[in-house]
């Protein structure tokens, strides 16, 4: 299956075709990185499609830099799983996505989903976010009573302070 066919099936296929496309991508490891955006969007699909999309996202590593803008827009999705994975992939992009750190600062401060807040803190660290807003948000999160959020934020502050 070539990449264009896979993406077309994932985006426009029947439910079974979308599931098959997501499953195929989950078998490709890092070679599925080209489909990072489509897989992130597919997290809001049916349970079967979503499960395979998540499996693919876990293993595809960093997305291509061309995907960053689309991933930023997906952080505003109504689907929490899509937001979670968009934030994760932005973090995996590292400093290449640092220009978008304010989006993650907003999620860190205002998301009602603890898992998203934790991932936003993690991603800011991976980006080496060093804006004043990012530093302040991480410092505030480091004081959180949520142990994991506090720990991740503390860790993310370390590169920004060096």
């Amino acid at each position: 299956m070539n990449s264009a066919t896979v993406l077309q099936q994932l985006l426009q296929g029947s439910p079974s075709e979308r599931a098959a496309a997501a499953e195929y991508l989950a078998q490709q490891g890092t070679e599925a990185a080209y489909a990072a955006c489509e897989l992130t969007a597919a997290c809001g699909d049916t349970e079967t499609v979503s499960d395979w999309a998540v499996a693919a996202l876990e293993q595809l590593g960093a997305p291509p830099s061309s995907a960053i803008e689309s991933l930023v827009s997906m952080t505003q999705s109504a689907n929490p799983r899509t937001v979670y994975w968009a934030v994760t992939l932005l973090g995996r992009s590292g400093p290449d996505a640092a220009v978008h750190q304010q989006v993650l600062v907003t999620l860190l401060q205002h998301s009602e989903d603890l898992a998203v807040q934790e991932k936003a803190a993690w991603s800011l660290g991976r980006m080496r976010a060093n804006s004043l807003e990012a530093t302040q948000a991480l410092q505030q999160a480091a004081q959180s009573t949520e142990k994991r959020l506090s720990r991740v934020a503390t860790r993310s502050l370390q590169p920004t302070q060096t």
């Binding site: 078998q27 490891g29 499960d51 499996a55 898992a115 998203v116 994991r148």
Partner: protein
Amino acid sequence: MARKKSKFSLLMWLIISGISGGGITGYLKPNIPVIGPLIAKFTDKGQNLTAGSGNLLTESADGLLNNQSSGDYGGSVVAGRLASARQASNRQQQGTVQPTTVAGNQGNANLLIASFNIQVLGQSKISKPGMKELLAHVIRQFDLVAIQEVRAKGDNVIPDLVTTVNSNGSRYNFVIGPRLGRSNSKEQYTYVFNTNTVEHDPSSVGTVNDPKDLLHREPFVTRFRARTQSPAQAFTFWMVNIHTDPDEVPEEVDALADVFQVMQKARADEDDVILLGDLNASEKQLGRLGKLPGMQWTVSGVTTNTRKTKAYDNILFQGQATREYTGRWGVYDLERNLGLSREQALQVSDHLPVWAEFRVWEAPPPTSPVGRPSLYN
């Protein structure tokens, strides 16, 4: 998205632990640092099926098993298993293959213990033609399989799979952990084991307590014992099943060092701890876990993913304590052993099973000639 450790889950845990801790099942023991999940205990649903039904493997292969011979696994489970082990070990493992001798009533002096990440093991996977039969065949190669990535909303996936495992007359059972994960994408761990050769201690089953939330999916632990004619001398051991978060591998393998040490002290009568699973790390990336005194890992110098590009899975233990390890280990190559193409093998999983062999008799502690007492008696 639900918060990971919701008040509801906490309430359920308190209720469950309150009931079981009260002596109804003896499920929790106060000195065990684990949280008790609900354990679905399979009750040998498949055991009444005839051995002849083992041919399901070939009847419904549908492209997954096109080169599989039509052998009947029902009558030769042990022999077939060891033959496969030899194939794998001849290719990849370091030790030599020894002939087996009879112990107990099993015809096998050793236990084959495996770890297998069966990617997205859910209803859609086991509904594929021939898939359950293929997975059952793989499971039957081993006495005890630690499985990662059960992802199913319903509770029938593992019971259905074990029914298929037993469809040839085998007597496998399972224990399964709770759904775990920080996002709303949850996974379960399970152990599937041959009750002819190994048994679990129902009072020593649970999920490791992780109050600092260091691990995305806290390890699922269960204590097992080899079945022999002399239970007091049989090999007993903790199994610690883990699937790390690929985004936080260094932190999680370090945390697993603490888990390992906690489990070593969980019971005064048990020093054998076998930590196994999808670590998302090679033997060179084990961090503090790999630096624990005497820590030994079986998988080394090979890849464990189906695409044969990465080493993710391993089986670890403290070498001086777990002297029951025979030195035999391997990676079960789905393509080679089942005659599958790469594409077909990837439909089974993106990981290959890894395995190691242990003697069924407890080795005495190195500093004492007296064997450990057993709480089974």
